[in-house]
C-alpha cells in the first residue's frame, strides 16, 4: 500500500476520496479512494466492466462523480475541469481521432485546440518523434492498430501534459508494438510525467511501478506488484504429469482448493490458506502419478482470485 503520506501536495498527481458513480441506478464505481504519486507509472487493473474507464473519465472531467471529491494535478475534478483538460492527456480506449483526417491534420487539430504556438511546427516535431514521417499524409483511419495507437499517444503527449490517462492503450496491438509503446511510456515517466494506465495484460501490470486492482466498482488491492502478490497470501502448487484434466476436475471438488488453472503442460493449484490447501492435496501429492512442486503465486493468480472473491461478494 502507498503509505498515506501527506507529503507536499505537488508530490501527489491524483488524489481522490470516495468517488461514486452509477448509471441508471447501477453502481459502477463505489467509494473509490486512491492516490497516485507524481512520476509513477500506475497500473489500473480489473475485469471488463469493473469501472476502470468510468474512473479515468471522472479523473479527466468527462464524467461528473455522483459523490466524493478529489484533485487531479491539484485541480478539483468537479470544478476545475478546464484546467484538467489543459494538463491531462487522455487516450481513449477506442481510437477517437478523426479517421477521415491525415496523421498530420489530426495532430495539427490537437495542437490548435490546445492553442500551442506554431501548431504546424508542433505537429511536424510530433510526427518525427513518433517515427511517422513517411506516413504523415496517410488518413488516420487507414492505419493499422499499432500505428493508430502510436498516433493516439502522440496526440496525447503533443500538448505536453503532466498526467497521462491511458485506457487500455495496447488492446489489440501486436507484441512488438506493445513493447515499443511501453518503452515510450517509461521514457515519458523518466521525464517526470505521471501515467495512469488501465490494462488487462499481466505482463504490462508488471511493468508498472505500482498497481491497483478494481473489480465491480471496488478497489481491492493497491501497491507494487510484489506487495500485491504478498498481500494475497496465496499458496501455490505446480503439478505436472499425465491426465491433468481429470486431476483438475478432482481438485476443484475439494475444500481448501480455491483455484485450479491449466498452464500449458502444468496445472496451477491455488489456495488462500496454505494449511488447508496442503491438507486437501496431501493424498494426491503422496501418489507418484503426478509431480508436485511448490510455486510462487503469480499476479494472474492473485487477480483471478480477487475476481472470484468479488463476484462472491456481489453475486
Amino acid at each position: 500500500m502507498i503509505a498515506a503520506a501527506p507529503g507536499p501536495k505537488s508530490e501527489i498527481a491524483i488524489d481522490v476520496t470516495k468517488l461514486n458513480k452509477s448509471f441508471d441506478g447501477r453502481s459502477v464505481v463505489r467509494d473509490l479512494t486512491m492516490q497516485v504519486r507524481r512520476g509513477l507509472i500506475y497500473g489500473f487493473l480489473g475485469p471488463n466492466g469493473s469501472g476502470k474507464t468510468t474512473t479515468l473519465r471522472m479523473l479527466c472531467g468527462l464524467l461528473t462523480p455522483d459523490s466524493g471529491q478529489g484533485t487531479c494535478l491539484g485541480y478539483d475534478i468537479r470544478k476545475q475541469t478546464k484546467e484538467i483538460k489543459r494538463h491531462v492527456g487522455y487516450m481513449t480506449q477506442k481510437f477517437s481521432l478523426y479517421a477521415d483526417l491525415s496523421i498530420r491534420e489530426n495532430l495539427e487539430f490537437v495542437a490548435r485546440v490546445h492553442d500551442l504556438p506554431k501548431p504546424r511546427e508542433a505537429a511536424r516535431r510530433a510526427i518525427e518523434r513518433l517515427g511517422l514521417g513517411n506516413r504523415a499524409d496517410q488518413l488516420a483511419g487507414d492505419l493499422s492498430g499499432g500505428w493508430k495507437q502510436r498516433l493516439a499517444l502522440g496526440a496525447c503527449i503533443l500538448p505536453e501534459p503532466q498526467l497521462l490517462l491511458l485506457d487500455e492503450p495496447t488492446a489489440g496491438v501486436d507484441p512488438k508494438a506493445r513493447r515499443d509503446f511501453w518503452d515510450e511510456i517509461h521514457k515519458l515517466a523518466a521525464d517526470g510525467l505521471t501515467v495512469l494506465v488501465s490494462t488487462h495484460y499481466m505482463d504490462e501490470a508488471e511493468r508498472c511501478h505500482e498497481i491497483a486492482y478494481i473489480a465491480y466498482g471496488d478497489l481491492l488491492a493497491v501497491g507494487t506488484v510484489d506487495e500485491v502478490i504478498a498481500s494475497a497470501h496465496l499458496a501455490n502448487w505446480i503439478v505436472t504429469g499425465d491426465a491433468l484434466a481429470d486431476l483438475a476436475v478432482e481438485l476443484r471438488k475439494r475444500v481448501g482448493v480455491d483455484m485450479v488453472a491449466p498452464f500449458g503442460s502444468s496445472l496451477h493449484v491455488v489456495g488462500r490458506d496454505r494449511a488447508k490447501l496442503d491438507a486437501a492435496t496431501a493424498d494426491l501429492r503422496a501418489s507418484d502419478q503426478h509431480k508436485w512442486l511448490r510455486g510462487e503465486a503469480t499476479l494472474e493468480d492473485v487477480f483471478i482470485d480477487l475476481m472470484g472473491r468479488s463476484k462472491d461478494n456481489f453475486a
Binding site: C60, L62, T64, R86, T92, S96, L97, V113, H114
Partner: protein, 387 residues
C-alpha cells in the same frame, strides 16, 4: 434425430421464423427510438393537414391600402363593394402616394386603391375618370382572383348610385375606367416569383442538413470523447462547425443568383449588397438551426428526420409554394416563425421591388432573433460531459 438436425434452418417455416425474429427486433428498436417513431407518424400527418387546409391559391381578405382624394358617394360605394367581394380587406388608409409605395415595398399590403380627386364629379359628367388599383404582383397567383373580381365589379358597382339624370350612365360601358397596375412583375410571370423563392428553399435544405449531422456524427464515430477531453468549449465547437458551411452557402447563393440573372432573367431592382448581406444572415440562421437539431438528436438518422420535419413547413407555409395570404391565420402564424418566410420577403423584396434594409427591418430582426435563439438552445443543449 440426425435428420431433424440436418433439416434445421431450411424450408419456409425456418425462413418465416427468421423473418419474424427480424420483424420483432425492428419493432422493438423502433419503439425504443421515440423520435424516429414520432417523425414517421408526424410527417404524413403534417402533409395531410397542410395540403388539405393550408393551401388556397385564391386567397381572400388581402390587405389593401386606400388613398382617397375624393370624398364622394362613389368613393364610398366602391370601397364597400371591394369589401363585399371578400377579396379585399382595407387595412390602411394613406394620405400620400409615398405612404402607399412604402407599404407596398414592405409587403404590408397586397393592393392599393387610389381614387383621384374629383372622381365623383367627373363620373357624373360622364368623363369616365380613372380609378387606379396597384397590385403587388410579385406572386401572380396571389392577386389573380382578386383582380378578376375587381373587373367584375365595374359594370354594376354604381348602379344604385346613378339615379335621376345620371341614370343614363348605367349600363355598358362602365362610367369609369379601372386601371390595374401589376407592380413589380407586370407580365405576371410566375418564374420571377419562384426563382428568388427557390434560392431560400435550396439554402434552407442544404444548410440544415450540413450541420444537422455534425454533432451526432462525432458521437457515432466515437470522436466526441476525445474532443470533450480537450480544452475546447461548446461555443467554439459550434461556431467552428458552422463557419465552413457559411462559405459553402455563399457559393451556392452565388450560383443561384447567376442562374437567376442569366437563365431566368430575374431583375435585380434593389441593392445586391443588401441581398448578399441578408442572405449570409439567413445561411447562418439555417446552419444554427441544423446544429441545434444535431445537439438534440442522438444519431444521424434522427438528425436527418428532424431537419426534414423542419423543412416541410418551411416549404409549405413560407409563401414559397402557395400565396402566404391565402393561408388561414394559424398557418400564417406558423409561417411567421419560420426563417424562410422572412427570407422570401427579403429576396422578393430586394430583387423584384427594390426594397432596402429599412423596408425589411422586421424580417431582418426576425432572422437575427431566430439565429440567436437557435444558437442559445444549441449551446445549452450541448453535453460537455459523457454523463
Amino acid at each position: 434425430m440426425s435428420a431433424d438436425r440436418a433439416d434445421r434452418g431450411r424450408g419456409i417455416r425456418a425462413s418465416l421464423q427468421r423473418w419474424y425474429a427480424m420483424f420483432v427486433k425492428e419493432l422493438i428498436q423502433l419503439r425504443r427510438d421515440r423520435i424516429t417513431f414520432a417523425t414517421m407518424i408526424f410527417i404524413p400527418l403534417a402533409q395531410l393537414l397542410l395540403f388539405g387546409y393550408a393551401i388556397n391559391t385564391d386567397p381572400r381578405n388581402l390587405p389593401t391600402v386606400v388613398l382617397v382624394q375624393d370624398d364622394s358617394l362613389f368613393s364610398r360605394s366602391f370601397m364597400s363593394a371591394m369589401r363585399a367581394s371578400k377579396y379585399f380587406d382595407i387595412t390602411h388608409v394613406a394620405t400620400t402616394e409615398d405612404e402607399v409605395d412604402s407599404l407596398l415595398l414592405a409587403g404590408k399590403v397586397q393592393f392599393a386603391l387610389q381614387i383621384p380627386a374629383n372622381f365623383g364629379r367627373d363620373l357624373i359628367r360622364g368623363e369616365r375618370p380613372a380609378l387606379l388599383v396597384i397590385a403587388d404582383a410579385t406572386d401572380p397567383s396571389a392577386t389573380g382572383g382578386a383582380v378578376a373580381a375587381l373587373q367584375g365589379l365595374t359594370a354594376s358597382v354604381f348602379s344604385r348610385d346613378l339615379v335621376g339624370p345620371a341614370a343614363s350612365l348605367n349600363g355598358k360601358p362602365a362610367p369609369f375606367e379601372l386601371r390595374i397596375h401589376r407592380r413589380f412583375n407586370p407580365a405576371g410571370e410566375t418564374r420571377l416569383n419562384i426563382v428568388p423563392g427557390l434560392m431560400g428553399t435550396i439554402l434552407t435544405l442544404t444548410m440544415l442538413i450540413f450541420t444537422a449531422l455534425s454533432v451526432t456524427r462525432e458521437i457515432e464515430r466515437g470522436t466526441m470523447e476525445n474532443l470533450l477531453s480537450m480544452p475546447i468549449n461548446p461555443v467554439e465547437i459550434m461556431l467552428g462547425k458552422i463557419a465552413p458551411y457559411v462559405l459553402i452557402g455563399a457559393l451556392q447563393m452565388a450560383l443561384i443568383l447567376v442562374a437567376a440573372f442569366w437563365l431566368f432573367s430575374v431583375p435585380m431592382v434593389g441593392s445586391l449588397m443588401t441581398l448578399i448581406g441578408l442572405s449570409v444572415l439567413f445561411i447562418i440562421n439555417n446552419l444554427s438551426i441544423g446544429y441545434t437539431f444535431s445537439t438534440i438528436a442522438s444519431n444521424q438518422l434522427q438528425a436527418m428526420q428532424m431537419s426534414f420535419l423542419f423543412f416541410l413547413p418551411n416549404l409549405l407555409l413560407s409563401g414559397f409554394m402557395f400565396p402566404f395570404r391565402g393561408m388561414p391565420d394559424w398557418a400564417q402564424f406558423i409561417g411567421e416563425i419560420l426563417p424562410l418566410t422572412h427570407f422570401l420577403r427579403i429576396t422578393r423584396g430586394v430583387m423584384l421591388k427594390g426594397a432596402g434594409l429599412g423596408d425589411l427591418q422586421w424580417d431582418f430582426a426576425a432572422l437575427v432573433l431566430f439565429m440567436l435563439a437557435a444558437m442559445g438552445v444549441a449551446v445549452a443543449r450541448f453535453r460537455q460531459t459523457l454523463d
